[in-house]
Amino acid sequence: MTSTLQTPRPESGASPIASSLRGRQLPRWAPRALVAAAVVLALVGVFGPLGSWLVLVGWCVAAVIPIWSLAVEGRRKATDRLVTLLVSTAFAITLFPLGSILATVISRGAPVLSNEFFTYSMRNIVGEGGGIYHALMGTLLITAAAAAISIPIGLFTAIYLIEYGEGTRLAAWIRFLVDVMTGIPSIVAGLFAYALFVIFFGPGVRMGIGGAVALSVLMIPVVVRSCEEMLKLVPNELREASYALGVPKWRTIVKVVLPTALAGIVTGVTLAIARVIGETAPLLVIAGLTDSVNLNLFDGRMATLPVFTYFSIIVPGVPPGPSIDRAWGAALVLLIIVMLLNLGARLVSYFFSPKGER
């Protein structure tokens, strides 16, 4: 190696290296300008009056980059630019349904929202009027009950997995089955709750608490996973510091480990609630629908926002207009609740995580 370095360079000019490093390249402004043009065309296509075919035209403009590159820079660079284009296109395509959902739900749901919409139930309502008060209360009650069941079980399981069972075969199995449990279809959770309650209350049972049980089956694994992740992040040194002060293990967990992980746990639990609050299928099976306000989890059918939305649009009745409007309104309210929970979760983890080095 050293010998090649010492070989005197051929006298073929000042900098043979520099010339070999210099290749023909696209002008630096070219990709940016073309992408900008494509984005503008696409935006005009989506929001402007000229029609959505402009999006396709925009994409073709961007697609000029790899072709131009092939001509100027060669095949390898062109492939690289082509992949960049494809990957960005994939992201843009994904944004489309999100934007479309938000746009349609907001534009069709927002006009429906009114004071009456939030404060009236559907009792004795035919045609226009009425509201989602009963469904809103049902959703809140059932979700709260599900959270009351899931959070303790999920948290204690996470504590077992991290603090007591670490390294044991039982813990490994539980962890694995919790992972598998995250994949239980929501309708199956509903059927499970139904099959369970049929044993006690006979066929045809409908009950709010059954919905809470079904949602718990879906929520517990999510809570376990997120709590486990957070407990894992608590440095072992803190546990040792506490033990060294003569603090029993359970007090160490309650007073040192949990407070340190609190922000993360709250975030995880909030996201878990956000996940189940929009569940429809299990509630359709076990909680059913009613037009009246029912605040008793243990007494008969209970309306919920998702189920209300579903029936309002599938069986709108005659005339269908008002019912479909209510469906959009309920969908918007549900979407807002879910988005607020997601936002809240992020804010909690942003502001309340313990400061200082990890």
């Binding site: 349609t104 069972g165 279809p185």
Partner: protein
């Protein structure tokens, strides 16, 4: 193994009541989860068996259980596989965009945006699918019928409402996309920096770096992410129930108005009117769905776990 060495000492070390209670509670919670999982299987089986054994005369659908459930399984698999064919390439692209192509500062916010897609309730997807997406796709289906009608998939006649199995699959694809993206993104970000830098140092372009360093590392992760997405797509209920205009046939024709139904959607659509043994048959079909998704998830998780052992991470 180790405790055999000095059992006397281990046993006699006094434990505090607080510790014992706390340990017991947490163990009980963990065992309760196992019991729940077992309970799901046991109760569905107990309530499902009468439905499986019911004679055709006692149930609304008027066939044996096998004849009843096979078309549903077909529809479930067809919709899920179609959804996955669309979602997986797109999800890998999006994950790669977020992890390696987007500006570093934007990566986290863009990730949140995709996560929002996962947060949208399925009933909202249903409402959107039935009243926006399905009508919007009708012209496309007409075009497919006219120009590609010789392919059996697009034989038509094209549905006038757009509520076809293809539309349902597109909605499903959008729903499972964030699930697959999130896992792929994590795995792409975990690619050892040294591998990436080694590839770049050899003069690789960014795409060559992805092929040399990222994909080999992430292969099993992508497979298991796709399987988790598959599990999700198999079990998704409401969006399919609302979007799909089902008639329970077995066909590969994707754009016509007669479509196969799925297990989950069928339960949602018929459960409320069902009585007697028909309910049991529906629960039995739920059990079939549970077994299928359990198998898929089990396999996916097993792949993830095995990968953990090999990569030596953590």
């Amino acid at each position: 193994m180790t405790s055999t060495q000095s059992p006397e000492r281990r046993r006699t070390t006094p434990t505090r009541p607080g510790d014992r209670i706390f340990r017991g509670t947490s163990l009980a919670a963990a065992l309760l989860i196992l019991a729940t999982l077992a309970g799901v299987a046991v109760f569905l089986t107990a309530e499902g068996i009468p439905g499986i054994l019911a004679s055709p005369d006692d149930v609304k659908h008027g066939t044996t259980f096998v004849d009843y459930v096979v078309p549903l399984v077909f529809g479930t698999l067809l919709a899920a596989v179609l959804a996955l064919t669309m979602a997986v390439p797109l999800a890998i692209g999006v994950a790669l965009f977020i992890s390696h192509y987007a500006p570093r500062k934007l990566a986290a916010p863009l990730g949140y945006v995709i996560d929002l897609l996962a947060a949208v309730p399925s009933v909202v997807y249903g409402v959107w699918g039935i009243s926006f997406l399905a009508p919007a796709l009708v012209p496309l289906y007409r075009w497919l019928e006219e120009n590609l009608g010789f392919i059996p998939l697009f034989a038509g006649p094209a549905s006038a409402t757009g509520r076809t199995i293809l539309t349902a699959s597109i909605v499903l694809a959008v729903m499972v996309l964030p699930v697959i993206t999130a896992i792929c993104r994590e795995i792409f970000l975990q690619t050892p920096r040294l591998h990436e830098e080694a590839a770049l140092a050899l003069g690789a372009t960014r795409w060559e770096m992805a092929r040399l360093a990222i994909f080999p590392y992430a292969r099993s992760g992508i497979i298991s992410a796709s399987m988790l997405g598959l599990g999700r797509a198999l079990g998704e209920t409401m969006a399919v129930a609302m979007v799909l205009s089902a008639s329970g046939v077995v066909t590969f024709n994707l754009i016509s108005s007669t479509n196969p139904s799925t297990i989950a959607a069928n339960i949602a659509l018929t459960f409320n009117e069902a009585t007697g043994l028909t309910v049991n048959a529906l629960i039995a079909s739920g059990l079939v769905l549970f077994v299928i998704t359990f198998g898929v998830n089990f396999a996916a998780r097993a792949i993830v776990d095995r990968r953990k052992d090999f990569s030596g991470a953590n």
